[in-house]
Symmetry: none
Subunit: 199 residues, 4 copies
DNA sequence: AATGAATGAGTCTTCATTCAT
DNA sequence: AATGAATGAAGACTCATTCAT
């Protein structure tokens, strides 16, 4: 029973183009990634891209969507709503940091695309919605149990998000060869976050 | 005693172009800001820009440098190396947050340019060097006094930097009309940071 | 007794494609009618078109040929060479005007294709040849009977042709909903033509 | 006292491009006249065209406008509203025929552009407005004096227009080398028209 | 020094045509 | 025979940069 409704080779083609785009933009930047190069990198004709994506803008948006979806999924892996607040906090943000840390390309890509006016704000927010909701509820419950500081949810969330993302990014810039974040290091960073937000 | 070697009106011209560039890029993005528009916005001919900046890349780099210099200066305002660690910590990062918070345009600009491969890493680091050194020393001393967690300086610095920057940015996105950060709010955010890094 | 050498369904396919092409070009113009749209409109794959027509140019030429053939046939309907000059004159040009008037799509199409350098002059002339010959002979006989002005046949023919075509076209432009030309109106127009050419 | 508000060389450039466009479209057709060829033919860079015309569509529209304006002016040359109907009729349509006859390029161009969906109907009508008004008034007066048949003005106008245009066009097609219409011939054609419309 | 017209390489995108299935 | 995915050449248009005035 195949879960995909589309034939295999179609999915491959689309994915092939998305991967080529990701590699190219991560390396050269959005403006230095013309469709002709994307095509060459994806081993297809320029026109082929337009069978899968309406415009370059659409292509970039879909790439962003895929990156975000993967990140959301990674963050919520093994996440158990029944667990205690601290475990849930460490799970989500640990997942987040490990994901960013072990995928330098996607990390750089997300930073670049997030900052780019090429993707509209509304779309960005929408893509992050699933994770945002989960984090929002976590903070709500944490506040009820008086574990967290009494600051706006958005503030606490962005604080953690921004700090971990910055560190992952910095790490990539310093060591071009990127060994995955070790357990010890990740734990320390999560402690920083926890100490920050806890009441 | 004039510190500038160039005549006054020349500086004005240069500054005029930089401001026009800043406004345009902040509003439209780097790729949607052609030199012709910059020229129009700066009320000068397109050719004139090239008397002050070698290329568009150079113009953007110089803009980034100016933004960074201003941010560095803002951060170190009233900074007293003789003061105690906590005061110094609150001074620098308070300055930083207030600067980001009250200059939405520059905040958005720095995010965009920082993420852009149009400016090379080396150049970015260089521009931040003065602030980095000061923060580095602050953390060193803090560690000596066993006030800070035993994590790499880079980590502690990026943690604070990234979290505050993210919050400022988020704030701008949410409320397009940007009232400057009030004292109370800023204090709370600095407490978050301090709690995070303190031993 | 089937006059056609090709099997029935093949003809249908070909006709289907020609009709789709006609509708599309009439509505969107030649340049805005790509083969892919023609295929979709004809409910077949793009490749299928090339089994019936060598190139797009060929397709358009064949369409023009069909339109012209139909027009020629329409003009010569009930045409009796034994009738008197005036009757024959009114028959041919009456048929012509009614045909143009009641087929706005084909009228617009012929105008567009006639004006297009995409179809060469030689081909256009050839397609009109049957009608041209008949008209030519009519004018010859009319001149013999001193009913017509002593002007070149081509001139007299084009005069009538051009004037009626222009009026039909204008009519379509003015009233987008096109009721077929009524008898009275047509009669008046033919009177104009007759008065023009008669000696 | 210079009637032109724009500097001389600007006008030249624009005119240069319009002429190149006219020649190219007349020879190759609209679809076979890419901007790159227009540029080469006008001896300028492709980008230069866009300083004078917003898009290719705009360029073609402006060309059509110029052609129509020239035709309108030609038609109304020596036209005296105080003259008698017949003289006015012969003046306008004689001018028209001589203009079409002696400018094969513009004649072919107008036919092609008139038939093209690239220029919208509204624009076409607008361009012809001055001449249309004059002809309209002429026919009104003619009818008052019971010189003309009682048919709609539009019909009488299009009849004359269409017939003369068709003949001019035909003439060009037949003799590629185009001697200007001689007096005798023109007079005969106008007689055809006059006989057609007169009561 | 200042201007802005001119340039043409480079960008995105379309589309006639082919060919593997 | 029919399909439609793939191709890549070609088109419209943009824009960093130059240079004559």
């Amino acid at each position: 029973m195949n879960i995909q409704s589309q034939p295999r080779h179609i999915m491959d083609r689309r994915e092939q183009i998305l991967q080529a785009t990701a590699n190219l933009i991560a390396e050269c930047g959005l403006q230095a990634s013309p469709m002709s190069k994307v095509a060459k990198s994806a081993c297809c004709g320029a026109g082929t891209i337009y069978r899968y994506f309406e415009t370059k803008e659409d292509l970039v948006r879909e790439l962003y969507k895929e990156l975000t979806t993967q990140m959301n999924q990674a963050c919520l892996q093994d996440y158990d709503r029944a667990a205690c607040i601290k475990v849930r906090f460490y799970t989500i943000w640990g997942n987040f940091y490990r994901h960013m840390s072990s995928n330098p390309r996607d990390c750089a890509l997300m930073e670049q695309l997030s900052a780019s006016p090429a993707i509209c704000c509304h779309f960005k927010d929408e893509a992050m919605e699933p994770l945002r909701q989960e984090v929002d509820q976590l903070i709500d419950e944490g506040k009820q149990q008086q574990l967290f500081k009494e600051l706006p949810n958005e503030t606490l969330a962005m604080f953690t998000f921004g700090s971990l993302a910055s560190i992952a990014k910095k790490q990539h810039n310093m060591a071009e060869q990127c060994q995955p974040a070790n357990v010890y290091e990740t734990q320390n960073l999560l402690n920083l976050c926890w100490d920050a937000v806890k009441a």
